[in-house]
Amino acid sequence: MIDVKDLSVSFGTTPAVRDLSFSVARGEILGLIGESGSGKSATALALMGLLPRTATTSGSILLDGEELTTASEKRLTALRGRAMAIVFQDPLQAFTPVHRVGAQIAEAVRAHQRVPRRTAARRAVELLDLVGIRDPHQRARSYPHEFSGGMRQRALIAMAIANNPGLLIADEPTTALDVTVQAHILDVLKTAQRETGAAVLLITHDLSVVARAADRVHVLKGGGTVETGPVEEVLRAPREPYTRRLVAAMEAGDRPAAPRPVRTVLEVRDLVRHHPGVKAVDGVSFDLRSGETLGLVGESGSGKTTLLMEIMALARPQRGRITVLGRDTAHVSRRDRRRIRRDLQIVFQDPSSSLDPRMTVGAIVAEPLTTHGRSPARVPELLAQVGLPAEYAARHPAHLSGGQRQRVAIARAVALDPEVLVLDEPVSALDPTIRAEIITLLEKLRAERGLSYLFVAHDLPLIRRIADRVAVMYRGRIAEIGPAHQIFAAPAHPYTRALLRASPLRDDDPVIAAGCRFRPRCPLYAELPAAPRSRCATEEPEITGDSGAACHHHPGEAP
């Protein structure tokens, strides 16, 4: 179907893709995997003929025998959406915000088929139905922001297959989504492929996505091909060191089980934070002990970030209690709050936005020191501890790589020798290989300084590697909490089980007012007889003690 030979793309003098060759047959799914900067997205845009005018292309792209690199803009416009279609990664931006979703899909239909408006609108509803959007008539009239991330991604797939394209490109279709939703999207993508018989090019940086969906895989690095072959073969026996590292990053061993330390450094009891219309945090309890790492997982919107912000605010919560190092945040003076801040620091997800772009690295690392009246003389030592040469102190964040920036953010966080470090997805904005380096650094710092980590992540293998204990959050509450080895070996909550197996779960079910909030998605609930079911519908399950699952029917409980 598509045949790419010696494709090279460069922006000015910077090459993005070098001599790339691959082909995808009808009905086949080829995974194109690589880190950012490996030329994946440039390849996708080159195939669609959507590269910016500053880019130069050489080589050949044959779509169904037709050469695309020399095709006229008019011809390309006619082919786009009909012969080839693309599903972009969705950071909320892939749909025009001011038009209804249904209208935008109908527009794609009418771009290539001479049909009346009404027919196109009906076709849009059918397509939404095909990708599993509930209530498609109603939903076609929604605006993009009214969709959840997974729904938008599915609607994008619906739009892409509106004209039965021969080639379907999916560019990072599941990035930024929860694993269970990821699985669902990949299933939908496969359905779409079956329906249209298209050749699918699946572009991702995530090996697990390829493992789940693709037939063959093509590993890119620095614009060129490193390795190619059938998925099972490459995963089982990766030949190239780069591929081996990728595969290794996917698998992780358990941390050894150890008795819990005694001293509690952070305690959260029945914490509630409701925003207008959203119960972001709805009764969360856990504790973190000295030297321990608690991994916090959950889909986006489960309340993880709100929870962290509530803790970091060190203010009186709406309801519940937060105790940091023995002090109740509802009853601390201004001065005490400042003192607590020394011992409680945070590292954010995206170092390119957590560092003030106008300050030098030295000034950034010195800021906590000077704020608390200490000498900034320690800055070079701190930089050395996070593996940065002292001369970087004079640089601005814009002139560091992503990994280096995160090192700066970590240096800033440990500058005051805190006891507790809150880590909000500290590596998810980084490429897999850099990710491993930062994790090694964090593990080293923890060992050297006896830090306690509250570590938020959606990458389960990563949590398995770094956490002593794990808390799984779902819609503002903790679904399950306990020692990491126990949760990974024998998950008790059906949601935890789905997460670990990456079972497909939908993300568009209604919010539950009473009873178990996981009920609409729960595979266990679906199979239960009527009598035990009623308990799920009426009674909110609770966790008692420092471990357990919020489920009426998990193995430890009588059904």
């Binding site: 959507l50 025009t96 001011v98 038009h99 004209n163």
Partner: protein
């Protein structure tokens, strides 16, 4: 609700402040100073008191008289006894016609130029329009008005028609006659406005043209033109509209130069003449109108936002 109170307070405080400032510093009595024969002091006092302008009456009394008048919708009187309300109503109409014409031309021109400049980013049109905009932004309204007048005189001379009129709103009141009068003042307002709007809209368009959804629209096989109009322009108009709404409000009392040069008897021109003749009530009345205009514009901007951006999370 809080906002409504805020706005009401804004209108009351702004016009009261303007009234107080004018009442304390302006001197309506000076209007009688140059008269020969000099009118008797008692006569002047009576006339001024009649208009609530006598500086010998206690300030608080005058203020209360003015406020209770305003509360009933009575704007008070000028120093020579004319009603302020009727005068301002008539002038508001004049200004409204002028500003509407200027704003419509300026907005259309600005949006068109801004769109084309953004689509052909760094191309010849972008550079050319950028240069013209630069020049226009540097020309003060007085100079622009005079240039336009010189141009109109030349145009009339070469065509021998006397088509373009440089003074007043109309002579006989027919539609063509009104058009002949409105061209120059409208252009005086529209050209600088178009210059600013085009820059503003250009940057809004550039932001939008780089957005992912424009790429999505291209990927589904829409032509460049359709993408620009239906997706990019439509979205970029949202901030531009807000800007235009507030500009409209500001121009209602801010078109002073244009109104003065071209002899349109509007609000801006009246503000100047009221300060010169020490008409406290007129000054305060115009301030009240400006405050109401600002509040209305805020409301209209809000409504327009809801219309243009239905998908906005609220």
């Amino acid at each position: 609700m809080v906002r409504l109170v805020n706005y009401a307070a804004l209108i009351v405080v702004a016009s009261s402040l303007a009234w107080l400032l004018a009442a304390v510093t302006l001197d309506p009595r000076a209007n009688y100073a140059g008269r020969t024969p000099a009118p008797a002091v008692a006569v002047v006092d009576a006339a001024l008191s009649e208009a609530n302008l006598n500086d010998k009456d206690p300030l608080l009394d005058r203020y209360l008289t003015w406020v209770s008048g305003m509360a009933r919708g009575d704007f008070g009187r000028t120093w020579d006894g004319a009603g302020v309300g009727a005068d301002l109503a008539e002038r508001a109409g004049v200004t409204l016609r002028l500003v509407t014409a200027g704003l419509a031309v300026g907005a259309l021109l600005g949006v068109a130029v801004g769109t084309l400049a953004a689509v052909g980013h760094r191309g010849w049109f972008d550079r050319l329009s950028g240069g013209v905009v630069f020049l226009l932004l540097a020309v003060p309204a007085v100079v622009l008005a005079n240039v336009l007048i010189i141009g109109a005189v030349w145009f009339n001379d070469t065509t021998g028609t006397r088509f373009l009129m440089v003074s007043g709103e109309f002579t006989d009141g027919g539609p063509l006659d009104r058009l002949r009068h409105v061209v120059l003042p409208a252009l005086t307002l529209a050209l600088p406005l178009a210059a600013i709007v085009s820059r503003y809209h250009r940057s809004a368009m550039l932001d939008v043209l780089n957005a992912d959804y424009v790429r999505t629209a291209r990927a589904k096989g829409l032509s460049r033109r359709k993408v620009v109009v239906r997706h990019a322009l439509r979205t970029a108009l949202i901030p531009t509209t807000t800007y235009l709404t507030f500009t409209f409000g500001a121009l209602l009392v801010g078109a002073t130069i244009t109104e003065t040069v071209f002899g349109w008897h509007g609000l801006g021109q009246r503000l100047i003449s009221a300060i010169v003749t020490s008409d406290v009530n007129t000054v305060a009345g115009i301030t009240a109108i400006a405050a109401v205009a600002l509040v209305l514009c805020a409301a209209v901007a809000e409504v327009l936002q809801r219309m243009l951006n239905p998908g906005r999370p609220r």
